[in-house]
Protein backbone atom coordinates (compact mmCIF):
# COMPACT_ATOMS: atom_id res chain seq x y z
CA UNK A 1 0.00 0.00 0.00
CA UNK A 2 2.76 2.41 0.94
CA UNK A 3 4.13 2.45 -2.58
CA UNK A 4 0.80 3.29 -4.11
CA UNK A 5 0.50 6.56 -2.20
CA UNK A 6 3.50 7.97 -3.98
CA UNK A 7 1.66 10.45 -6.17
CA UNK A 8 3.96 13.43 -5.88
CA UNK A 9 7.35 13.74 -7.50
CA UNK A 10 10.13 13.15 -5.04
CA UNK A 11 11.23 16.45 -3.49
CA UNK A 12 14.90 17.38 -3.55
CA UNK A 13 16.81 16.19 -0.46
CA UNK A 14 17.03 19.67 1.05
CA UNK A 15 13.32 20.42 0.85
CA UNK A 16 12.54 16.88 1.90
CA UNK A 17 14.46 17.43 5.10
CA UNK A 18 12.73 20.72 5.74
CA UNK A 19 9.39 19.22 4.83
CA UNK A 20 9.86 16.35 7.23
CA UNK A 21 10.62 18.77 10.06
CA UNK A 22 7.41 20.63 9.44
CA UNK A 23 5.22 17.72 8.54
CA UNK A 24 6.15 15.10 11.06
CA UNK A 25 4.92 16.85 14.23
CA UNK A 26 1.58 17.71 12.61
CA UNK A 27 0.99 14.16 11.45
CA UNK A 28 2.07 12.82 14.82
CA UNK A 29 -0.24 15.31 16.51
CA UNK A 30 -3.21 14.20 14.44
CA UNK A 31 -2.39 10.57 15.17
CA UNK A 32 -2.14 11.22 18.90
CA UNK A 33 -5.39 13.18 19.05
CA UNK A 34 -7.11 10.47 17.03
CA UNK A 35 -5.70 7.77 19.28
CA UNK A 36 -6.92 9.58 22.40
CA UNK A 37 -10.38 10.04 20.93
CA UNK A 38 -10.64 6.38 19.98
CA UNK A 39 -9.35 5.08 23.28
CA UNK A 40 -11.68 7.49 25.09
CA UNK A 41 -14.65 6.27 23.08
CA UNK A 42 -13.79 2.62 23.59
CA UNK A 43 -13.33 3.07 27.34
CA UNK A 44 -16.51 5.11 27.69
CA UNK A 45 -18.60 2.73 25.56
CA UNK A 46 -17.30 -0.30 27.42
CA UNK A 47 -17.87 1.36 30.78
CA UNK A 48 -21.42 2.34 29.94
CA UNK A 49 -22.23 -1.10 28.58
CA UNK A 50 -20.84 -2.94 31.58
CA UNK A 51 -22.68 -0.65 33.97
CA UNK A 52 -26.10 -1.02 32.43
CA UNK A 53 -28.86 -2.02 34.88
CA UNK A 54 -28.73 -5.81 35.34
CA UNK A 55 -31.90 -6.51 33.36
CA UNK A 56 -30.52 -4.71 30.28
CA UNK A 57 -27.10 -6.34 30.47
CA UNK A 58 -25.93 -9.33 28.43
CA UNK A 59 -25.18 -12.30 30.66
CA UNK A 60 -21.76 -14.01 30.49
CA UNK A 61 -23.00 -16.88 28.32
CA UNK A 62 -24.17 -14.35 25.74
CA UNK A 63 -20.73 -12.76 25.70
CA UNK A 64 -19.23 -16.19 25.22
CA UNK A 65 -21.54 -16.75 22.28
CA UNK A 66 -20.44 -13.42 20.78
CA UNK A 67 -16.81 -14.44 21.03
CA UNK A 68 -17.41 -17.85 19.45
CA UNK A 69 -19.39 -16.42 16.58
CA UNK A 70 -16.61 -13.86 16.16
CA UNK A 71 -14.03 -16.63 15.85
CA UNK A 72 -16.18 -18.47 13.32
CA UNK A 73 -16.79 -15.31 11.32
CA UNK A 74 -13.06 -14.63 11.57
CA UNK A 75 -12.35 -18.03 10.04
CA UNK A 76 -14.44 -17.14 6.99
CA UNK A 77 -12.70 -13.78 6.67
CA UNK A 78 -9.30 -15.39 7.06
CA UNK A 79 -9.88 -17.76 4.15
CA UNK A 80 -11.01 -14.96 1.86
CA UNK A 81 -8.24 -12.68 3.12
CA UNK A 82 -5.65 -15.32 2.15
CA UNK A 83 -6.76 -14.92 -1.46
CA UNK A 84 -6.12 -11.18 -1.36
CA UNK A 85 -2.80 -11.67 0.32
CA UNK A 86 -1.57 -14.41 -2.03
CA UNK A 87 -2.37 -12.41 -5.14
CA UNK A 88 -0.94 -9.24 -3.63
CA UNK A 89 2.19 -11.19 -2.80
CA UNK A 90 2.94 -12.21 -6.37
CA UNK A 91 1.46 -9.28 -8.31
CA UNK A 92 1.39 -6.36 -5.83
CA UNK A 93 -2.20 -5.94 -6.91
CA UNK A 94 -5.49 -6.00 -5.00
CA UNK A 95 -7.82 -8.43 -6.74
CA UNK A 96 -11.02 -6.57 -6.01
CA UNK A 97 -13.02 -9.25 -7.80
CA UNK A 98 -12.07 -11.79 -5.14
CA UNK A 99 -15.30 -11.24 -3.21
CA UNK A 100 -17.17 -12.34 -6.34
CA UNK A 101 -14.94 -15.40 -6.70
CA UNK A 102 -16.17 -16.31 -3.22
CA UNK A 103 -19.80 -15.56 -4.14
CA UNK A 104 -19.63 -17.75 -7.26
CA UNK A 105 -18.30 -20.68 -5.24
CA UNK A 106 -21.13 -20.27 -2.78
CA UNK A 107 -23.69 -20.15 -5.59
CA UNK A 108 -22.36 -23.18 -7.42
CA UNK A 109 -22.41 -25.24 -4.23
CA UNK A 110 -25.91 -23.93 -3.48
CA UNK A 111 -27.36 -25.68 -6.53
CA UNK A 112 -25.91 -28.99 -5.41
CA UNK A 113 -26.93 -28.44 -1.80
CA UNK A 114 -30.43 -27.56 -2.96
CA UNK A 115 -30.70 -30.68 -5.12
CA UNK A 116 -29.36 -32.87 -2.30
CA UNK A 117 -31.83 -31.28 0.11
CA UNK A 118 -34.81 -32.03 -2.09
CA UNK A 119 -33.61 -35.56 -2.86
CA UNK A 120 -33.07 -36.17 0.84
CA UNK A 121 -29.39 -37.03 0.41
CA UNK A 122 -28.34 -34.00 2.44
CA UNK A 123 -29.90 -35.42 5.59
CA UNK A 124 -29.33 -39.10 4.89
CA UNK A 125 -25.61 -38.76 4.18
CA UNK A 126 -24.70 -35.26 5.39
CA UNK A 127 -20.98 -36.00 5.45
CA UNK A 128 -20.75 -37.12 1.82
CA UNK A 129 -23.12 -34.42 0.67
CA UNK A 130 -21.06 -31.76 2.41
CA UNK A 131 -17.84 -33.18 0.99
CA UNK A 132 -19.24 -32.85 -2.52
CA UNK A 133 -20.63 -29.39 -1.78
CA UNK A 134 -17.25 -28.19 -0.56
CA UNK A 135 -15.52 -29.74 -3.58
CA UNK A 136 -17.92 -28.06 -6.02
CA UNK A 137 -17.49 -24.65 -4.40
CA UNK A 138 -13.71 -24.96 -4.34
CA UNK A 139 -13.56 -26.12 -7.93
CA UNK A 140 -15.83 -23.33 -9.16
CA UNK A 141 -14.05 -20.54 -7.30
CA UNK A 142 -10.71 -21.94 -8.37
CA UNK A 143 -11.69 -22.01 -12.04
CA UNK A 144 -13.13 -18.50 -11.92
CA UNK A 145 -10.03 -17.15 -10.20
CA UNK A 146 -7.82 -18.78 -12.85
CA UNK A 147 -10.01 -17.44 -15.64
CA UNK A 148 -9.83 -13.95 -14.15
CA UNK A 149 -6.06 -14.15 -14.07
CA UNK A 150 -5.79 -15.39 -17.62
CA UNK A 151 -8.38 -13.16 -19.25
CA UNK A 152 -8.46 -9.99 -17.18
CA UNK A 153 -5.08 -9.58 -15.49
CA UNK A 154 -2.36 -11.33 -17.46
CA UNK A 155 -2.67 -9.10 -20.53
CA UNK A 156 -2.19 -6.10 -18.22
CA UNK A 157 0.80 -7.50 -16.35
CA UNK A 158 3.10 -4.72 -17.52
CA UNK A 159 0.62 -1.85 -17.41
CA UNK A 160 0.67 0.87 -14.76
CA UNK A 161 -0.69 -0.34 -11.44
CA UNK A 162 -3.94 1.57 -11.72
CA UNK A 163 -5.00 -0.31 -14.85
CA UNK A 164 -5.38 -3.83 -13.39
CA UNK A 165 -7.01 -2.26 -10.34
CA UNK A 166 -9.74 -0.69 -12.45
CA UNK A 167 -10.03 -3.95 -14.38
CA UNK A 168 -10.51 -5.79 -11.10
CA UNK A 169 -13.44 -3.55 -10.21
CA UNK A 170 -14.83 -4.13 -13.70
CA UNK A 171 -14.41 -7.88 -13.31
CA UNK A 172 -16.16 -7.70 -9.97
CA UNK A 173 -19.18 -5.95 -11.52
CA UNK A 174 -19.11 -8.39 -14.43
CA UNK A 175 -19.28 -11.41 -12.13
CA UNK A 176 -21.92 -9.87 -9.90
CA UNK A 177 -24.14 -9.05 -12.86
CA UNK A 178 -23.55 -12.45 -14.39
CA UNK A 179 -24.84 -14.05 -11.21
CA UNK A 180 -27.69 -11.57 -11.12
CA UNK A 181 -28.68 -12.43 -14.70
CA UNK A 182 -28.23 -16.19 -14.48
CA UNK A 183 -29.52 -16.87 -10.99
CA UNK A 184 -31.84 -13.94 -10.32
CA UNK A 185 -31.56 -11.12 -7.83
CA UNK A 186 -33.51 -12.74 -5.01
CA UNK A 187 -31.97 -14.09 -1.86
CA UNK A 188 -32.37 -17.86 -1.71
CA UNK A 189 -32.24 -20.17 1.27
CA UNK A 190 -28.99 -22.18 1.45
CA UNK A 191 -29.95 -25.61 2.76
CA UNK A 192 -28.28 -26.76 5.95
CA UNK A 193 -28.31 -30.45 6.91
CA UNK A 194 -30.33 -31.15 10.06
CA UNK A 195 -27.30 -32.45 11.93
CA UNK A 196 -25.86 -28.96 11.70
CA UNK A 197 -29.19 -27.25 12.40
CA UNK A 198 -29.14 -23.91 14.18
CA UNK A 199 -29.89 -25.14 17.71
CA UNK A 200 -27.73 -28.27 17.63
CA UNK A 201 -24.54 -27.90 19.59
CA UNK A 202 -21.34 -29.75 20.37
CA UNK A 203 -19.34 -29.21 23.53
CA UNK A 204 -15.62 -29.18 22.98
CA UNK A 205 -13.16 -28.58 25.82
CA UNK A 206 -16.05 -27.40 27.95
CA UNK A 207 -17.13 -24.82 25.39
CA UNK A 208 -20.56 -25.27 23.91
CA UNK A 209 -20.71 -24.22 20.27
CA UNK A 210 -23.19 -24.42 17.45
CA UNK A 211 -22.22 -27.32 15.22
CA UNK A 212 -21.91 -25.06 12.18
CA UNK A 213 -19.44 -22.93 14.05
CA UNK A 214 -17.38 -26.00 14.82
CA UNK A 215 -17.40 -27.01 11.16
CA UNK A 216 -16.43 -23.49 10.09
CA UNK A 217 -13.61 -23.17 12.61
CA UNK A 218 -12.21 -26.63 11.91
CA UNK A 219 -12.26 -26.24 8.12
CA UNK A 220 -10.69 -22.80 8.42
CA UNK A 221 -7.89 -24.06 10.64
CA UNK A 222 -7.24 -27.04 8.38
CA UNK A 223 -7.17 -24.80 5.30
CA UNK A 224 -4.79 -22.28 6.86
CA UNK A 225 -2.42 -25.01 8.05
CA UNK A 226 -2.62 -26.78 4.70
CA UNK A 227 -1.81 -23.60 2.82
CA UNK A 228 1.07 -22.75 5.14
CA UNK A 229 2.60 -26.19 4.67
CA UNK A 230 2.10 -26.02 0.93
CA UNK A 231 3.78 -22.63 0.64
CA UNK A 232 6.66 -23.42 2.96
CA UNK A 233 7.40 -27.05 2.12
CA UNK A 234 6.62 -27.85 -1.49
CA UNK A 235 8.55 -27.06 -4.63
CA UNK A 236 5.58 -25.18 -6.06
CA UNK A 237 5.21 -23.26 -2.81
CA UNK A 238 8.83 -22.26 -3.02
CA UNK A 239 8.37 -21.09 -6.59
CA UNK A 240 5.42 -18.95 -5.45
CA UNK A 241 7.60 -17.32 -2.80
CA UNK A 242 10.33 -16.80 -5.37
CA UNK A 243 7.97 -15.09 -7.80
CA UNK A 244 6.60 -12.97 -4.96
CA UNK A 245 10.04 -11.79 -4.02
CA UNK A 246 11.63 -11.22 -7.42
CA UNK A 247 9.84 -12.21 -10.58
CA UNK A 248 12.77 -11.60 -12.90
CA UNK A 249 15.16 -13.73 -10.86
CA UNK A 250 12.50 -16.40 -10.41
CA UNK A 251 12.42 -16.84 -14.17
CA UNK A 252 16.23 -16.98 -14.10
CA UNK A 253 15.86 -20.08 -11.90
CA UNK A 254 13.77 -21.64 -14.65
CA UNK A 255 10.48 -21.03 -12.88
CA UNK A 256 7.49 -20.61 -15.19
CA UNK A 257 6.28 -17.29 -13.82
CA UNK A 258 2.95 -17.26 -15.68
CA UNK A 259 2.10 -20.71 -14.44
CA UNK A 260 3.12 -19.85 -10.89
CA UNK A 261 0.95 -16.75 -10.84
CA UNK A 262 -1.97 -18.79 -12.12
CA UNK A 263 -1.41 -21.39 -9.37
CA UNK A 264 -1.46 -18.57 -6.83
CA UNK A 265 -4.85 -17.42 -8.09
CA UNK A 266 -6.02 -21.03 -8.03
CA UNK A 267 -5.03 -21.41 -4.37
CA UNK A 268 -6.86 -18.21 -3.46
CA UNK A 269 -9.89 -19.52 -5.35
CA UNK A 270 -9.84 -22.88 -3.53
CA UNK A 271 -9.86 -21.11 -0.18
CA UNK A 272 -12.59 -18.70 -1.29
CA UNK A 273 -14.67 -21.73 -2.26
CA UNK A 274 -14.31 -23.18 1.23
CA UNK A 275 -15.35 -19.80 2.63
CA UNK A 276 -18.33 -19.76 0.28
CA UNK A 277 -19.76 -22.96 1.76
CA UNK A 278 -18.96 -21.81 5.29
CA UNK A 279 -20.87 -18.62 4.59
CA UNK A 280 -23.84 -20.46 3.09
CA UNK A 281 -24.08 -22.82 6.04
CA UNK A 282 -23.62 -20.06 8.61
CA UNK A 283 -26.13 -17.57 7.24
CA UNK A 284 -28.37 -20.03 5.42
CA UNK A 285 -28.68 -17.80 2.39
CA UNK A 286 -27.13 -16.88 -0.93
CA UNK A 287 -27.59 -14.01 -3.39
CA UNK A 288 -25.49 -12.32 -6.08
CA UNK A 289 -24.55 -9.61 -3.61
CA UNK A 290 -23.02 -11.68 -0.84
CA UNK A 291 -19.52 -11.15 -2.24
CA UNK A 292 -19.34 -7.47 -1.54
CA UNK A 293 -19.39 -7.04 2.22
CA UNK A 294 -17.36 -10.14 3.15
CA UNK A 295 -14.97 -9.19 0.34
CA UNK A 296 -14.33 -5.74 1.78
CA UNK A 297 -14.13 -7.16 5.30
CA UNK A 298 -11.61 -9.79 4.23
CA UNK A 299 -9.60 -7.18 2.36
CA UNK A 300 -9.58 -5.14 5.56
CA UNK A 301 -8.49 -8.24 7.47
CA UNK A 302 -5.58 -8.81 5.12
CA UNK A 303 -4.48 -5.19 5.46
CA UNK A 304 -4.90 -5.38 9.23
CA UNK A 305 -2.69 -8.46 9.47
CA UNK A 306 -0.19 -7.17 6.94
CA UNK A 307 -0.99 -7.73 3.28
CA UNK A 308 1.34 -10.20 1.63
CA UNK A 309 1.70 -12.16 4.84
CA UNK A 310 -0.10 -15.48 5.23
CA UNK A 311 0.00 -15.46 9.02
CA UNK A 312 -1.17 -11.87 8.83
CA UNK A 313 -4.25 -12.75 6.80
CA UNK A 314 -5.22 -15.46 9.27
CA UNK A 315 -4.61 -13.21 12.27
CA UNK A 316 -6.32 -10.22 10.66
CA UNK A 317 -9.37 -12.32 9.80
CA UNK A 318 -9.66 -13.61 13.33
CA UNK A 319 -9.26 -10.15 14.86
CA UNK A 320 -11.76 -8.55 12.53
CA UNK A 321 -14.29 -11.32 13.14
CA UNK A 322 -13.93 -10.79 16.88
CA UNK A 323 -14.14 -7.01 16.57
CA UNK A 324 -17.30 -7.29 14.52
CA UNK A 325 -18.94 -9.73 16.89
CA UNK A 326 -17.89 -8.26 20.21
CA UNK A 327 -17.43 -4.62 19.20
CA UNK A 328 -21.02 -3.54 18.61
CA UNK A 329 -22.52 -4.96 21.82
CA UNK A 330 -19.56 -3.84 23.90
CA UNK A 331 -19.15 -0.35 22.52
CA UNK A 332 -22.62 0.69 21.46
CA UNK A 333 -25.27 -0.90 23.67
CA UNK A 334 -24.29 1.45 26.51
CA UNK A 335 -25.27 4.39 24.32
CA UNK A 336 -28.74 2.96 23.79
CA UNK A 337 -28.26 2.73 20.05
CA UNK A 338 -31.28 0.97 18.54
CA UNK A 339 -29.45 -1.48 16.30
CA UNK A 340 -25.81 -1.83 17.33
CA UNK A 341 -25.18 -4.87 15.11
CA UNK A 342 -25.93 -2.81 12.04
CA UNK A 343 -22.72 -0.96 12.87
CA UNK A 344 -20.50 -3.96 12.01
CA UNK A 345 -19.53 -2.46 8.68
CA UNK A 346 -18.75 0.84 10.37
CA UNK A 347 -16.29 -1.08 12.48
CA UNK A 348 -14.81 -2.75 9.39
CA UNK A 349 -14.19 0.53 7.62
CA UNK A 350 -12.93 2.25 10.77
CA UNK A 351 -10.41 -0.54 11.21
CA UNK A 352 -9.31 -0.20 7.59
CA UNK A 353 -8.82 3.55 7.84
CA UNK A 354 -7.12 3.35 11.22
CA UNK A 355 -4.68 0.67 10.10
CA UNK A 356 -3.78 2.75 7.08
CA UNK A 357 -3.22 5.78 9.31
CA UNK A 358 -1.34 4.16 12.16
CA UNK A 359 0.34 1.11 10.71
CA UNK A 360 0.00 0.83 6.94
CA UNK A 361 2.16 -2.31 6.92
CA UNK A 362 -0.33 -4.10 9.18
CA UNK A 363 0.32 -5.98 12.38
CA UNK A 364 2.77 -8.56 11.08
CA UNK A 365 4.18 -6.65 8.16
CA UNK A 366 6.76 -3.95 8.65
CA UNK A 367 6.83 -4.56 4.93
CA UNK A 368 9.11 -7.53 4.61
CA UNK A 369 8.41 -10.07 7.31
CA UNK A 370 7.08 -13.36 5.98
CA UNK A 371 5.91 -11.97 2.65
CA UNK A 372 4.32 -14.77 0.68
Amino acid sequence: MAEGTDLQPAPSPATARLGRLQRLPLRRLIQIVLAILIIGFVVLGTYKTLNLPPDERYDPSTWKAFVISGVAQGGIYALIALGYTLVYGVLRMINFAHGEVFMMGCFASFFFADAYASSGLLNRHPFYALAIIFAIAMLTSCLIAMLLERVAYRPLRNSPRLVPLITAIGASLFLQNTAFGLFGPQTQAYPVPDVLGGDRTWTILGITMQRIQVVVIVTAVVAVIGLTLFISRTRTGRSIRAVAEDREIASLMGIDVDRTIMITFALGGLLAGVAGVQFGLTFGQVSPYIGFTPGIAAFTASVLGGIGSIGGAALGGLLLGLLQAVGPPLLFTGFNIPAPFQLQDVITFSVLVLVLIFRPGGILGSGEAEKV
Binding site: S239, R241, L252, M253, G254, I255
Partner: protein
Amino acid sequence: MTAEDQAHRDGEQPVLELRHVSTHYGLVSVLRDVNVRILRGEMVCLLGGNASGKTTTLKTILGYVKPSDGDVLLDGEIVTGLPTMQLVARGVSMVPENRRLFSNMTVAENLELGGYLRKDKDKLAADREQVLQTFPRVRERLKQKAGTLSGGEQQMVAMGRALMADPKVLLMDEPSMGLAPVLVEQVFEIIRQIRALGKTIFVVEQNANMALSIADRGYVLQTGEIVLSGDAQELLNDPLMRQAYLGEL
Protein backbone atom coordinates in the same frame (compact mmCIF):
# COMPACT_ATOMS: atom_id res chain seq x y z
CA MET B 1 35.45 -9.54 -35.35
CA THR B 2 39.20 -9.22 -35.57
CA ALA B 3 41.37 -11.53 -37.58
CA GLU B 4 43.02 -13.27 -34.67
CA ASP B 5 39.66 -13.75 -33.05
CA GLN B 6 38.45 -15.48 -36.18
CA ALA B 7 41.46 -17.70 -36.12
CA HIS B 8 41.00 -18.53 -32.47
CA ARG B 9 40.34 -22.27 -32.23
CA ASP B 10 39.04 -22.01 -35.75
CA GLY B 11 36.20 -24.20 -36.87
CA GLU B 12 35.18 -25.10 -33.35
CA GLN B 13 31.53 -24.58 -32.55
CA PRO B 14 31.06 -21.98 -29.80
CA VAL B 15 28.98 -22.86 -26.75
CA LEU B 16 27.45 -19.42 -26.91
CA GLU B 17 27.50 -17.05 -29.82
CA LEU B 18 26.03 -13.64 -30.57
CA ARG B 19 25.75 -12.99 -34.30
CA HIS B 20 25.22 -9.42 -35.42
CA VAL B 21 22.97 -8.74 -32.47
CA SER B 22 21.26 -5.37 -32.18
CA THR B 23 18.90 -4.54 -29.36
CA HIS B 24 16.55 -1.61 -28.85
CA TYR B 25 14.55 -0.41 -25.88
CA GLY B 26 11.63 1.11 -27.69
CA LEU B 27 13.22 3.44 -30.20
CA VAL B 28 16.52 3.72 -28.32
CA SER B 29 19.24 1.62 -29.84
CA VAL B 30 21.35 0.04 -27.09
CA LEU B 31 23.35 -2.69 -28.88
CA ARG B 32 24.57 -2.46 -32.47
CA ASP B 33 25.95 -5.42 -34.41
CA VAL B 34 27.47 -7.20 -31.43
CA ASN B 35 29.43 -10.38 -32.23
CA VAL B 36 30.70 -12.60 -29.44
CA ARG B 37 31.96 -16.21 -29.50
CA ILE B 38 32.54 -18.23 -26.37
CA LEU B 39 34.16 -21.64 -26.67
CA ARG B 40 33.91 -24.57 -24.30
CA GLY B 41 35.92 -24.13 -21.13
CA GLU B 42 36.82 -20.55 -21.93
CA MET B 43 36.50 -17.59 -19.68
CA VAL B 44 35.58 -14.53 -21.70
CA CYS B 45 34.98 -11.04 -20.38
CA LEU B 46 32.95 -8.18 -21.76
CA LEU B 47 34.31 -4.85 -20.61
CA GLY B 48 32.64 -1.49 -20.77
CA GLY B 49 31.80 1.61 -18.83
CA ASN B 50 28.52 2.52 -17.25
CA ALA B 51 25.52 2.25 -19.55
CA SER B 52 27.58 0.83 -22.40
CA GLY B 53 25.09 -2.04 -22.77
CA LYS B 54 26.71 -4.85 -20.80
CA THR B 55 23.60 -5.87 -18.87
CA THR B 56 21.53 -5.53 -22.01
CA THR B 57 23.84 -8.01 -23.74
CA LEU B 58 23.19 -10.58 -21.01
CA LYS B 59 19.46 -9.84 -21.02
CA THR B 60 19.41 -10.38 -24.76
CA ILE B 61 21.12 -13.74 -24.36
CA LEU B 62 18.62 -14.81 -21.69
CA GLY B 63 15.56 -13.70 -23.59
CA TYR B 64 14.54 -10.93 -21.20
CA VAL B 65 14.68 -8.66 -24.22
CA LYS B 66 14.41 -9.72 -27.84
CA PRO B 67 17.08 -8.44 -30.20
CA SER B 68 15.80 -6.31 -33.06
CA ASP B 69 18.33 -7.97 -35.32
CA GLY B 70 20.80 -10.85 -35.26
CA ASP B 71 20.80 -14.15 -33.43
CA VAL B 72 21.83 -15.83 -30.21
CA LEU B 73 23.15 -19.36 -30.67
CA LEU B 74 23.62 -22.01 -28.04
CA ASP B 75 25.68 -24.97 -29.20
CA GLY B 76 25.02 -23.84 -32.74
CA GLU B 77 21.28 -23.79 -32.30
CA ILE B 78 19.36 -20.53 -32.69
CA VAL B 79 17.71 -19.61 -29.38
CA THR B 80 16.98 -15.97 -30.11
CA GLY B 81 14.18 -14.56 -27.96
CA LEU B 82 13.11 -17.85 -26.38
CA PRO B 83 11.50 -17.41 -22.96
CA THR B 84 14.05 -17.10 -20.16
CA MET B 85 13.02 -20.36 -18.50
CA GLN B 86 13.76 -22.26 -21.71
CA LEU B 87 17.23 -20.80 -21.95
CA VAL B 88 17.80 -21.79 -18.35
CA ALA B 89 16.56 -25.27 -19.17
CA ARG B 90 19.07 -25.42 -22.03
CA GLY B 91 21.96 -24.64 -19.74
CA VAL B 92 22.43 -20.88 -19.40
CA SER B 93 22.72 -19.51 -15.85
CA MET B 94 23.45 -16.05 -14.61
CA VAL B 95 24.80 -14.42 -11.50
CA PRO B 96 22.80 -11.21 -11.76
CA GLU B 97 23.92 -7.67 -11.14
CA ASN B 98 23.78 -6.89 -7.40
CA ARG B 99 23.40 -10.60 -6.62
CA ARG B 100 19.62 -10.43 -6.23
CA LEU B 101 19.26 -13.30 -3.77
CA PHE B 102 15.84 -14.25 -2.45
CA SER B 103 16.56 -12.45 0.77
CA ASN B 104 13.52 -13.73 2.70
CA MET B 105 14.53 -17.31 2.02
CA THR B 106 17.28 -19.32 3.60
CA VAL B 107 20.59 -19.85 1.89
CA ALA B 108 19.66 -23.53 1.44
CA GLU B 109 16.42 -22.56 -0.32
CA ASN B 110 18.29 -20.17 -2.59
CA LEU B 111 20.59 -22.98 -3.62
CA GLU B 112 17.70 -25.36 -4.17
CA LEU B 113 16.01 -22.80 -6.42
CA GLY B 114 19.21 -22.71 -8.45
CA GLY B 115 18.64 -26.39 -9.26
CA TYR B 116 14.90 -25.90 -9.71
CA LEU B 117 14.65 -27.52 -13.14
CA ARG B 118 16.97 -30.43 -12.53
CA LYS B 119 15.68 -33.97 -12.59
CA ASP B 120 18.98 -35.77 -11.99
CA LYS B 121 18.71 -35.86 -8.21
CA ASP B 122 21.96 -37.75 -7.59
CA LYS B 123 24.08 -35.46 -9.73
CA LEU B 124 22.28 -32.49 -8.16
CA ALA B 125 23.25 -33.61 -4.68
CA ALA B 126 26.84 -34.05 -5.85
CA ASP B 127 26.88 -30.58 -7.39
CA ARG B 128 25.47 -29.10 -4.21
CA GLU B 129 28.23 -30.79 -2.25
CA GLN B 130 30.79 -29.39 -4.67
CA VAL B 131 29.38 -25.88 -4.28
CA LEU B 132 29.54 -26.19 -0.51
CA GLN B 133 33.11 -27.44 -0.73
CA THR B 134 34.05 -24.53 -2.93
CA PHE B 135 32.38 -22.09 -0.52
CA PRO B 136 32.75 -23.44 3.04
CA ARG B 137 31.34 -20.14 4.35
CA VAL B 138 28.08 -20.87 2.56
CA ARG B 139 27.78 -24.22 4.29
CA GLU B 140 27.97 -22.50 7.67
CA ARG B 141 25.14 -20.17 6.68
CA LEU B 142 22.74 -22.68 5.09
CA LYS B 143 19.90 -22.10 7.56
CA GLN B 144 20.28 -18.34 7.66
CA LYS B 145 18.05 -15.92 5.71
CA ALA B 146 20.02 -14.87 2.66
CA GLY B 147 19.25 -11.20 3.33
CA THR B 148 21.22 -11.29 6.57
CA LEU B 149 24.53 -12.25 4.92
CA SER B 150 27.38 -9.87 4.20
CA GLY B 151 27.95 -8.66 0.64
CA GLY B 152 30.80 -11.08 0.04
CA GLU B 153 28.85 -14.05 1.41
CA GLN B 154 25.87 -13.08 -0.71
CA GLN B 155 28.06 -13.07 -3.80
CA MET B 156 29.17 -16.62 -2.95
CA VAL B 157 25.57 -17.74 -2.56
CA ALA B 158 24.64 -16.07 -5.85
CA MET B 159 27.44 -17.94 -7.59
CA GLY B 160 26.54 -21.17 -5.82
CA ARG B 161 22.93 -20.74 -6.86
CA ALA B 162 23.93 -20.31 -10.49
CA LEU B 163 26.25 -23.33 -10.31
CA MET B 164 23.45 -25.50 -8.93
CA ALA B 165 21.93 -25.52 -12.40
CA ASP B 166 25.13 -27.18 -13.71
CA PRO B 167 25.15 -24.67 -16.56
CA LYS B 168 26.78 -25.08 -19.97
CA VAL B 169 27.69 -21.45 -19.76
CA LEU B 170 27.69 -19.24 -16.69
CA LEU B 171 27.01 -15.53 -17.16
CA MET B 172 28.09 -13.04 -14.50
CA ASP B 173 26.98 -9.44 -14.41
CA GLU B 174 29.55 -7.22 -12.67
CA PRO B 175 30.34 -9.58 -9.81
CA SER B 176 32.66 -6.99 -8.23
CA MET B 177 30.07 -4.22 -8.19
CA GLY B 178 29.39 -2.64 -4.81
CA LEU B 179 31.99 -4.69 -2.96
CA ALA B 180 34.89 -3.36 -0.92
CA PRO B 181 38.32 -3.70 -2.64
CA VAL B 182 39.34 -6.62 -0.40
CA LEU B 183 36.17 -8.43 -1.34
CA VAL B 184 36.71 -7.71 -5.02
CA GLU B 185 39.97 -9.67 -4.80
CA GLN B 186 38.09 -12.45 -3.07
CA VAL B 187 35.37 -12.56 -5.69
CA PHE B 188 37.86 -12.86 -8.50
CA GLU B 189 39.59 -15.60 -6.58
CA ILE B 190 36.24 -17.37 -6.42
CA ILE B 191 35.72 -16.94 -10.15
CA ARG B 192 39.14 -18.48 -10.69
CA GLN B 193 38.03 -21.45 -8.57
CA ILE B 194 34.85 -21.85 -10.57
CA ARG B 195 36.94 -21.77 -13.71
CA ALA B 196 39.08 -24.52 -12.30
CA LEU B 197 35.93 -26.65 -12.18
CA GLY B 198 36.00 -26.48 -15.97
CA LYS B 199 33.06 -24.14 -16.40
CA THR B 200 32.55 -21.92 -19.40
CA ILE B 201 32.21 -18.37 -18.13
CA PHE B 202 31.12 -15.10 -19.68
CA VAL B 203 31.72 -12.27 -17.24
CA VAL B 204 30.70 -8.66 -17.70
CA GLU B 205 32.83 -6.12 -15.84
CA GLN B 206 33.82 -2.49 -15.45
CA ASN B 207 36.89 -3.54 -13.53
CA ALA B 208 38.93 -4.26 -16.68
CA ASN B 209 42.23 -4.93 -14.96
CA MET B 210 40.84 -7.56 -12.66
CA ALA B 211 38.71 -9.22 -15.30
CA LEU B 212 41.51 -9.41 -17.88
CA SER B 213 43.89 -10.81 -15.31
CA ILE B 214 41.82 -13.99 -15.03
CA ALA B 215 40.12 -14.21 -18.44
CA ASP B 216 41.28 -15.91 -21.64
CA ARG B 217 39.83 -13.33 -23.95
CA GLY B 218 37.97 -10.07 -23.77
CA TYR B 219 35.66 -7.84 -25.74
CA VAL B 220 35.33 -4.12 -25.17
CA LEU B 221 31.92 -2.55 -25.49
CA GLN B 222 31.49 1.16 -26.04
CA THR B 223 28.01 2.69 -26.31
CA GLY B 224 26.62 -0.55 -27.62
CA GLU B 225 29.37 -1.46 -30.08
CA ILE B 226 32.31 -3.82 -29.77
CA VAL B 227 35.33 -1.63 -30.35
CA LEU B 228 38.12 -4.02 -29.37
CA SER B 229 38.58 -7.71 -28.81
CA GLY B 230 41.35 -10.19 -28.38
CA ASP B 231 43.42 -12.24 -25.97
CA ALA B 232 43.31 -10.96 -22.42
CA GLN B 233 47.07 -10.46 -22.37
CA GLU B 234 47.02 -8.49 -25.62
CA LEU B 235 44.20 -6.32 -24.38
CA LEU B 236 46.06 -5.61 -21.18
CA ASN B 237 48.97 -4.33 -23.27
CA ASP B 238 46.92 -2.56 -25.92
CA PRO B 239 47.76 1.16 -25.85
CA LEU B 240 44.21 2.23 -26.65
CA MET B 241 42.89 -0.06 -23.96
CA ARG B 242 45.38 1.20 -21.40
CA GLN B 243 44.42 4.74 -22.18
CA ALA B 244 40.67 4.35 -22.18
CA TYR B 245 39.95 1.67 -19.59
CA LEU B 246 42.90 0.93 -17.43
CA GLY B 247 43.17 4.41 -16.02
CA GLU B 248 46.38 5.52 -17.75
CA LEU B 249 45.73 8.93 -19.19
